[in-house]
Amino acid sequence: MLNKNIINRLSLPGSAYQLAVIRILFGIQILFSSSSKIFDFLKNVPGTDYTLTIFPNFIQNYINIYAIDVIQISVQILSIFLILGLFLRWVTPLLFISFILQFSFLYSKFDAPIPWLYIWFPLLIFIYSDTGAVWSVDSILKKTKKSLTSSKYRWPIELLSGWWAYIYFAAGLAKVLPFPKALQWIDGGTSQKIIYDRYLDSGFHFIFGEPFFDYSQYNVIFSILTIGSLLIEISVIMIFFTNKFNLILLVLILCMHSFLFLTGVPGFGFLGLILGLSLINPSYFHQYIKHS
């Protein structure tokens, strides 16, 4: 099983197309996220005030009060460059830095890892990888012939899949540690509380108009949902040891997100999908794009 562990997979053939698709989709996502009115809104309201960032207070305050407008515009412009694949050598480090700064503003006032958790590590990887070998202005300008299946397109993909796995595995761990707490967690009370409290703000209400059953009383469905989500999250650790189950895990996680979307937690599904593209075998990607 460990023959195809993540470290061994770093040296396998990759696909320049897969990396380019992920680059473009992340570019679009960053442009969308950085243009959100949340930044304008949080300049007017204090938001949450208990989150920590790596920046000392005086730097964080400077970003929050003085620099955020300039940083926000920089991220928007740089993300367009990322989508186009223009000047990637300079754009990727600049975008990484400005993205980290812009979303430190968000996290310092909004206690949730949306959407930066899924994006910042891929941006760091983009700095060191050749994401513009195809479908980029850079590749048109350079006109050099390259092997599009080299392993230099594989290691970034494997690291992204590792990041994807880390996010979900850590989420699972946080729920079960320390182990005695897990017993309380899997009885379904937490799922019930989320669905019960947020029903009137959820997709279930907006689509179906009425609850399916009495959410105020015990129902075994809550336990099933809780245990199911926990098993899915914990099982993604297999990605580090083998890539045999990548597609099944991707589908399971996307199903989980679809359900969360309906319960009123819509933030992670699309991000999970973009990052999850790294779980698809590069050879499928390469063959499909070449043939189409």
């Binding site: 770093l10 909004f110 019930q192």
Partner: protein, 252 residues
């Protein structure tokens, strides 16, 4: 290879036990010296010691697993700077997961980590929401609905679900939030926002919306999910006038 597989599996289990030890220290800090907690913590110690010893032995050995994997990473096409950067990220996140505390951008991904025991809740849940009249028709400003790409009615796509979460939960009791929303809705031709109460009865499965402005004020308390909503001054004044008029009518 089979032996190495078993070894890695054992390491992983002991590593989990080590993280559990740190989490238990934090989770049980109030009752750290109770017998049951001390016993629970003591059970971890042999595993932590064994893991430390194993890793030390592996690092000293020339054909150790860690060294072999380090060589494999070095031989891959991953640039040296990338290896350094990924190592820093790995260490940062490892600390964050181990202590169960985030420090942006390192994150332990602990959303919904809190555990609540199952209990029967009241069958009716109330949610205070802003509403308005347009062309003599009642419209409810369902903020969370506006954050969903396919459900939105009044706000454009830049008012993302992050914005609606912040306005609908974290900052709903603030005047600034109300002012911000009023400004947006003015552009939509809406002059006045009122606060009403939407309710769901889980027993009868009925959802209703009560436009009674005084009832909204009366039921707006800290027990509501994420606390009370901001109610504008003009709604309070109007409600007060209703009360005075009703009292005068009653006295007559």
């Amino acid at each position: 290879m089979a032996l190495k597989n078993k070894k890695v599996l054992k390491w992983c289990i002991c590593f989990l036990i080590t993280i559990d030890f740190i989490h238990a220290l934090i989770y049980y800090k109030q009752s750290l010296f109770s017998k049951s907690v001390l016993l629970y913590l003591a059970v971890h110690i042999p595993f932590i010691l064994w893991l430390s010893l194993e890793i030390y032995r592996d690092l000293c050995s020339k054909d150790g697993i860690i060294y072999a994997n380090f060589i494999k990473i070095k031989e891959s096409k991953m640039p040296k700077n990338a290896i350094v950067a990924v190592t820093i990220v790995f260490m940062g996140n490892l600390i964050s997961v181990s202590i169960g505390k985030p420090c942006y951008p390192f994150y332990d991904v602990g959303m919904f980590r809190w555990s609540t025991s199952f209990k029967d809740e009241p069958s009716i849940v109330h949610k205070h929401k802003y509403y308005f009249y347009k062309n003599n028709q009642l419209h409810v400003l369902d903020l969370r609905r506006e954050g969903f790409l396919f459900f939105r009615k009044y706000l454009d796509i830049t008012y993302s679900h992050i914005f609606t979460f912040s306005a609908n939960y974290h900052n709903k009791s603030r005047k600034e939030t109300f002012d911000y929303l009023s400004k947006i809705m003015k552009k939509e031709g809406v002059d006045t926002l009122w606060v009403g109460v939407q309710s769901v009865n889980y027993k009868s499965k009925k959802v209703t919306f009560d436009t009674d402005i005084c009832n909204a004020i009366k039921t707006n308390n800290k027990d509501i999910h994420y606390g009370p909503i901001y109610i504008p001054g003009y709604q309070k004044e109007k409600c007060q006038k209703f009360r005075v008029n009703a009292e005068q009518e009653y006295n007559k």
